[in-house]
Amino acid sequence: MSQLHAVVIDDEPDLTAFISSILETDGFAVRTANDASAGEELILEQAPDVILIDLMMPGRSGVHLFARLSKNEATKDIPLVMVTGIKDQMGVDWGEVAGQFKVRQPDGYVEKPIDPDRLMSVVRGVLSGKRNKGEVLRS
C-alpha cells in the first residue's frame, strides 16, 4: 500500500507540529502550512489524501478555505477534517454553512485539546468511508 499524504493547516506552529507528528507516526507523509492561502497552494500543488484544517485562523478562516476547496473540481472530493477548539461554543451549524456556500459538510471533526488516538480514528474513518463507499463519511 502506497504512503498516504496529508496536509495540515493551522496558524499555531506547535499544533501543526503535534498533528504532523501523530500522522507521521502512523505512516503519513505530512506537509504543513500556517495560514489558509499557503495551505491552499500546497493542496493545489499536489492533491493529498486527507486535509486537516484549523477552523479559526487569522486572515482567511478554515471555513473560508473549506468552502473554496469544496467548490474546486480538483479538490472537492478530498476528505476534510475540521480541527476546532470552539465547536460547541461557536454553535456552528454546518448544514447552514454548507447551504450558504452551496458546499458539502466537512467529513469529520477533531476537537482540541487533541487526543492522538481520537485524531487517527477520525482520519482513518474518513479515509475508509471514502474508499469503501466511494463517498465521504459524515461525522
Binding site: 506547535d14 503535534f18 498533528i19
Partner: protein, 581 residues
C-alpha cells in the same frame, strides 16, 4: 413738598370740596351782608342827621330843646345814632331768612355739582385697592347697532348692553380700526357712536377712568396668564425647582422637589432656608460667574454632580444648577434646578456590571481557549518528545522539548496577566531609568518565540528618570511588545521598536511594529478592551492589563495603525507622575 413733622395741617385742607365751596359762599354772603349793613348804617345816619338838622333849623332859636340836644346844627345827636343802629339791626334781621335760603340752595347746587367728582373719587379709591370693575355710569348709554343700523348680528357688541362697543375686540366696524382695545380707541373716538356717548368734561374724565381700568384689566389678565403659565411650567417641570427670596427663605418648591426631597411644599415655603437641603460650600459657587461662555454675566453654576439632603438625613445624588438672581444690581434671591440621577446612576452601574460580566465571560472563554492551545502545545511537545525517543531521533526529542518549554513560558505569561488584571492594588511609584526599564523588559522577553523578528530599543539620550511602578509597567511594556511581535506575519521581515521620549511634561513609551496593521473598526474594538486580533489564540487579557496599568499611572493609551504597514501603541504618562524635577 418738604416734609415737616411738626407742622399741623390747616383745617381748611381737611374740608371736603363741597364744604370748601359752601364756606366760600358763606363768607361771601357775610361780607356782602356786612357791607350792606354798613352802607345802610351810614346812609341812615346821614339821612336822619340831615333831616334832624333841617327840622331844628325850622325851630326858633330859643326853642326849648329836649335834653341832650344842645342846639340846632349840632351834629349827630344820640337819637340819630340809636336810630341808625336800630335800622341796622332791623335790616340785618330781615336779611337772615333770605341768606339762609340762599345758602340752602347753594348747598344743593354745590352737592349736585360735585357729586360726579365724589363718584370718580370713590372709583379711583376702588381702583387703587385693586377693584378693576367699578360701577361707572357716566354719559349716555348708546346702542351702536341701533345708531348705525348694524346688521352684524354675530358681533360681540350686538345687543350687548353691559359693555360699550369700543371696549370689545374684533368688532367688524367700518373704518379700518385696530381690532383690539386699547389700540382701537383712537379710531373709535371719531365714530358717531362714541361721539353720541361723549358728554362734558366729567363724562370724558369718567371715560378716561374706564379706559384706564380696561387697560389695567387687560394687562392684569396678561400678567395672570403669564404667571399661571410660569407656575404650571415650574409645577410640571421634570426638574426639581427651588427658589428663594433675598433672605434665602424658600419661596418656590415644585412637585419634583417635593418628591426628591420627601417633604411637602407647605412645610417648606416661607419657612425653610435653602441650605437645609443643599450641601455646604455651594454659596461660594453661587457668587461666581458661570464658566459657560454664553452666560458669563450670570452668577451661579450649572450641571454639577452634587447631593441634596432629605429631612430624614438621606442623601440623594443629583445633577444641580444654581443661579443667583439680581434686580438692578441688588440680590433678590436664588433659584436651583436639579435632577434626581439615582435611577440613571443605578442603570449606569447595572450597565457597567453587565458589561463587566460580559467582558468576564469573554475573558473566561478566551482564557479557556488559550489554555486549550497551551495544553495542545504541552501534549504535542510530550508526544513528539516520546515519538523521538521511541525512534532514537534526538532532533525530534529537542523539538518536543522546545514545544514544552515554549508553552510553559506562555502559561507563565498568562498567569502573570491574570494576576495583574485581577489584583486591585496601589501602584508602587518609584523613580526609574527608562532605558534600564526597557532593556530589562526586552531581555526577559527574549525573542517572543519569533527569532526572525528584530526587537530594538530607542531611548532619548537626555531622558531623565520616570516615576512608575516597575513591576506593573514592565508587564505592560512586555504585553505591548509581545502583541507587536505577534502582529507580524510569519513570512515578513519583522521589526519592533520600543521608543521612549519626553514630550513636554509627558513621558511617552511607543511600541511600533511593521506588521499587518489594523482597520479603524478593529482599533475601536481594541480600545474598548477584551478584544484580540489573534483569533482563538488570543484572550484579549494582555490588552486589558496594558490599559489597567496605564490607567493606574493616570496615563492614556494611544493607538495608530495602518493596514499593511504596522501599528504604534503609545503609553503616555502625565508628567506630574512621570517626571522628576
Amino acid at each position: 413738598m418738604k416734609f415737616n413733622p411738626g407742622r399741623t395741617v390747616p383745617v381748611y385742607h381737611k374740608l371736603l370740596l363741597e364744604n370748601k365751596i359752601m364756606l366760600l359762599i358763606t363768607v361771601l354772603l357775610l361780607v356782602l351782608g356786612a357791607g350792606l349793613l354798613t352802607a345802610q348804617y351810614w346812609v341812615t345816619r346821614d339821612v336822619a342827621g340831615r333831616l334832624a338838622d333841617d327840622m331844628l333849623s325850622l325851630l326858633p332859636a330859643d326853642a326849648l330843646l329836649p335834653e341832650g340836644v344842645r342846639s340846632p346844627g349840632e351834629s349827630l345827636p344820640a337819637t340819630i345814632e340809636q336810630l341808625s343802629m336800630r335800622m341796622v339791626w332791623m335790616v340785618g334781621g330781615l336779611m337772615i331768612v333770605p341768606v339762609v335760603l340762599v345758602l340752602l340752595a347753594a348747598r344743593l347746587a354745590v352737592r349736585r355739582a360735585v357729586q360726579p367728582l365724589k363718584e370718580l373719587t370713590r372709583v379711583a379709591d376702588e381702583i387703587s385697592t385693586g377693584n378693576l370693575d367699578p360701577q361707572l355710569n357716566f354719559g349716555v348709554r348708546v346702542n351702536c347697532w341701533e345708531l348705525k343700523n348694524c346688521q352684524h348680528t354675530d358681533c360681540r357688541a350686538y345687543l350687548n348692553i353691559s359693555e360699550q362697543c369700543w371696549y370689545m375686540d374684533d368688532t367688524p366696524c367700518e373704518g379700518g380700526y385696530e381690532p383690539r382695545f386699547p389700540q382701537k380707541l383712537e379710531g373709535c373716538r371719531t365714530c358717531e357712536v362714541y361721539q353720541a356717548h361723549r358728554g362734558d368734561e366729567i363724562v370724558q374724565l369718567a371715560d378716561a377712568f374706564k379706559h384706564m381700568t380696561n387697560v389695567l384689566k387687560r394687562s392684569r389678565e396678561d400678567q395672570v396668564k403669564a404667571a399661571d403659565l410660569q407656575q404650571r411650567l415650574i409645577r410640571n417641570s421634570f426638574d426639581a425647582v427651588v427658589a428663594t427670596d433675598a433672605n434665602d427663605i424658600i419661596t418656590i418648591f415644585n412637585r419634583v422637589a417635593e418628591q426628591t426631597l420627601g417633604i411637602s411644599r407647605d412645610e417648606v415655603i416661607g419657612i425653610r432656608d435653602w441650605r437645609d437641603f443643599f450641601r455646604d460650600g455651594l454659596e461660594r459657587s453661587m457668587d461666581r460667574p458661570l464658566t459657560h461662555e454664553k452666560f458669563r454675566r450670570v452668577r451661579g453654576f450649572r450641571q454639577l454632580e452634587s447631593q441634596v439632603r432629605r429631612p430624614d438625613g438621606k442623601l440623594v445624588d443629583v445633577i444641580l444648577s444654581g443661579i443667583s438672581l439680581f434686580e438692578g444690581g441688588i440680590h433678590v434671591g436664588k433659584v436651583f434646578f436639579f435632577q434626581d440621577v439615582r435611577e440613571v446612576k443605578q442603570l449606569r452601574e447595572d450597565l457597567i456590571r453587565s458589561e463587566r460580566l460580559a467582558a468576564t465571560g469573554q475573558a473566561a472563554a478566551g482564557i479557556s481557549h488559550s489554555i486549550k492551545n497551551i495544553l495542545d502545545g504541552f501534549m504535542g511537545g510530550a508526544y513528539i518528545f516520546k515519538a523521538g525517543r521511541g525512534m532514537g531521533d534526538e532532533a525530534k526529542m529537542d523539538q518536543g522539548w522546545e514545544m514544552i518549554e515554549r508553552n510553559m513560558a506562555i502559561i507563565s505569561n498568562l498567569v502573570k496577566d491574570l494576576l495583574n488584571f485581577s489584583k486591585e492594588r496601589e501602584p508602587k511609584i518609584e523613580a526609574h531609568d527608562p532605558a534600564e526599564l526597557i532593556s530589562e523588559t526586552l531581555s526577559v522577553l527574549g525573542h517572543c518565540g519569533r527569532p526572525d523578528v528584530v526587537i530594538r530599543s530607542d531611548v532619548e539620550a537626555s531622558a531623565g528618570p520616570v516615576l512608575l511602578d516597575q513591576h506593573a509597567f514592565q508587564q505592560c511594556l512586555a504585553n505591548m511588545v509581545r502583541n507587536a511581535v505577534e502582529a507580524i506575519p510569519a513570512d515578513h521581515e519583522g521589526l519592533v521598536t520600543v521608543h521612549y521620549h519626553a514630550d513636554g511634561d509627558k513621558a511617552v513609551f511607543s511600541i511600533s511594529d511593521n506588521g499587518a496593521g489594523m482597520s479603524g473598526e478593529i482599533i475601536e474594538k481594541v480600545r474598548s478592551g477584551m478584544f484580540s486580533t489573534k483569533g482563538s489564540k488570543g484572550t484579549g487579557l494582555g490588552l486589558l492589563v496594558i490599559q489597567k496599568v496605564i490607567a493606574e499611572h493616570k496615563g492614556s493609551l494611544e493607538i495608530e495603525s495602518k493596514e499593511g504597514e504596522g501599528t504604534v501603541f503609545r503609553a503616555v504618562i502625565p508628567a506630574a507622575v512621570a517626571r522628576i524635577a
